[in-house]
């Protein structure tokens, strides 16, 4: 027999859908089916049931092969590595819960680490811009209930956040949006012909790397000033037309993705997009929100925000928190040879970082805490598999609009496996002993 668990939270993307239904065996040991989730969300749950899943930590032998070790040995190795480092990098944190992030912060502070999360290659530039010019934002609930103009800038939610449009932005019927998508205008700004762009009312095919100019042109248009004939590949008539539509919306929102955060101008793109939003609030109500990727990258920024005052790239080496992306950002630290060990948790930099960084990770001591075998574990000296957060253990996560949502445990982890938080606590205890605190 089986039972169905409702209102399950999906621990995959920043949309953090909380309406999933999961079928599990009566004894709570097997996960049988997932409904309501998109394909990638469902796969996350089903992956936990893989037959070839690792259940024990493994340590690299001299000849490159692996041997199984206990969690105790794994914690000993990790603590020693961190204690012996002058400048350890503790990276990842986006696919785990806030409880684990919090223990990680305590460790980071104790050893004077560099703390960085996946925002460093994603929405970190957004965080820089928000600090520079502030941000007029809202919750996804407000978008669902009020927004009649939806703009996706530099992102393809149809593939990256598959249920974002149906749950929050384009399709749902809310208090003041009873007509659903028929009452909304969809604008997609993207140089590519994406599936999201194909359903847009207006697709602005901006020239690659010219988002900053196009956003600037919108501000010029709002003020009724004269524009050059073509900006960023878009004729000025079109820019004036879109600017007018934005001003006339009842409630508009700009969702933006890595097409603007990680292309030419980076933080400046977001900085000026925020100013576009601010300008529009002279005429109507407008909001702006980053399409955060990992389900709890936002939470990692929140935890460090309240702990250290900075949401990523936190440098604790001198005993107080410093912050300067460009110096204390993981890839700069790695490529420049600023760090002497790496502890990775809840992320896969081996797959997402440039080759130079991964090569460095291979050269210096590296521990990876991750349920999966990944490109990162390939360069690690120690791989610690753990329980899946949001599947085998609950914990707090923050949605892309900074709303905290408690994830649930739906099934038992394989016997003997521990969680991120438990493993970090084991490492912390050992470090406290080494440091005599």
């Amino acid at each position: 027999m089986s039972k169905i668990i409702t209102d399950v939270v999906c621990p995959f993307c920043g949309t953090l859908c909380d309406d999933l239904e999961v079928t599990v065996s009566d004894d709570g040991k097997k996960l049988i089916d997932v409904s309501n989730a998109c394909a990638i969300g469902a796969m996350k749950f089903l992956h936990s049931q893989a037959d070839d899943r690792l259940t024990k930590p493994r340590m690299r032998n001299e000849d490159g092969s692996w041997r199984d070790v206990s969690y105790e040995e794994a914690a000993d190795f990790s603590a020693k590595m961190l204690a012996n480092s002058k400048k350890p990098l503790m990276y990842g944190w986006s696919s785990t819960n806030c409880e684990a992030q919090s223990v990680g912060s305590t460790i980071g502070e104790l050893i004077g680490a560099q703390m960085d999360n996946t925002a460093t290659v994603c929405h970190g530039t957004t965080l820089i811009a928000v600090q520079d010019v502030g941000v007029p934002s809202c919750t996804l609930g407000e978008v669902k209930n009020r927004a009649d103009m939806i703009i996706y800038w530099g992102g393809n939610p149809a593939h990256a956040h598959p249920r974002h449009m149906s749950r929050y932005s384009m399709y749902p019927r809310g208090f003041f949006t009873a007509k659903g998508h028929r009452g909304r205008t969809l604008v997609v700004v993207d140089p590519r012909d994406t599936d999201s762009a194909s359903i847009a009312d207006i697709h602005l095919k901006v020239e690659q790397g010219r988002d900053y100019e196009l956003l600037s042109a919108l501000r010029v248009a709002f003020r009724g000033e004269v524009l050059p004939d073509v900006v960023a590949g878009i004729p000025k008539e079109k820019i004036y037309e879109v600017a007018e539509k934005m001003k006339k919306a009842r409630f508009g929102v700009i969702f933006f993705g890595m097409g603007v955060t990680q292309t030419l101008s980076k933080n400046h793109n977001i900085d000026i997009a925020i100013q576009v939003t601010r300008d529009l609030n002279e005429y109507t109500k407008f909001s702006i929100m980053p399409m955060r990727g990992h389900y709890n990258v936002t939470g990692s920024g929140e935890v460090w925000g309240w702990q250290f005052g900075f949401p990523f790239c936190v440098d604790l080496s001198r005993g107080f928190a410093r912050y300067n992306p460009g110096e204390s950002s993981s890839n700069d630290l790695l490529v420049r040879g600023e760090v002497d060990s790496v502890f990775v948790i809840g992320s896969d930099p081996g797959a997402h970082f440039p080759f130079g960084s991964v090569k460095k990770m291979n050269e210096i001591p590296c521990v990876c805490v991750d349920p999966h075998i990944t490109p990162t574990t390939v360069v690690a000296d120690l791989h610690v598999p753990v329980a899946f957060v949001g599947v085998e253990v609950g914990g707090c996560a923050y949605r892309m609009d900074s709303v905290p949502i408690e994830t649930h445990k739906v099934v038992d982890a394989p016997e003997g496996m521990i969680t991120d938080e438990e493993f970090l606590n084991m490492v912390l205890e050992r470090l406290q002993k080494i440091k005599g605190v």
Binding site: D132, S216, L227, L264, H268, Q275, S317, V339
Partner: protein, 266 residues
Amino acid sequence: MKKVELTIKQQPELYLETENITPDAFAGKSADEIAALNVYEGNVTHKLGDFFSIAGTPGATAADTQIVVNGNLERVKWIGSRMTAGEVVVESSMDMYAGAFMAGGKLLIKGNAGHFTGLGMTGGELRITGNAGNYLGAAYRGDWRGMQGGVLRVNGNAGSDVGSFMRGGEIIIGGDADVHVGTHQEGGKIVVKGNAKSKVGGQMVKGEIIVFGTIDVMMPGFAHRDNVDLEVDGTKATFKRYEGDLGERHPKSKGAVVYGQLYIKQ
């Protein structure tokens, strides 16, 4: 002026933070006291004397102290930061934060300077004989005040984000500048003797940018007003004068709107 000579005798494994290499920190100290000043490598605190040999004596005040730093300093950060007077000569290329937040005196780097050089400086003279990295004379993260005073001169090229949030002083770049010159600029003057790429003067409120070469792609918010004859850093020429960023807020002075001024040599 009295002179202290430092020579790096051991390279750090990682990078060294040496914000104590300033006339202000050295003034009035004996060689032993200077050797006992802290330098930092990651979470480890070392003594300056562990990495540098020290010769000569400083003056009684910062203004009366010259520091010359010899050897390969490519893994050394923060020399001359927050200095208020005196002179520092770096006989090598160096890493980040040279002269960051400096308020007075002279800092000369005989080589290249890394990113964040002259960050938020408020006064003094900073000269780089080679190239400079990104964020030259810009604001520290989150600050709305970039460079506010003094002169920053680079003989070679500069990276991106020159003078972001700049509010005063002068930056002169002998060569080319990468993207984003004077973003959010609200005062001061930036001169680029070579070419600039794009995103020049975006979100600029006021102040001046003068480009001798070309700009690959102009920002849409700059309007050509007229042509003017100017003498810039010893060169007389005719420049096209633009005003902008027309999409940005602008203050008024005596009833007239004040715009950022962008000059491009004809």
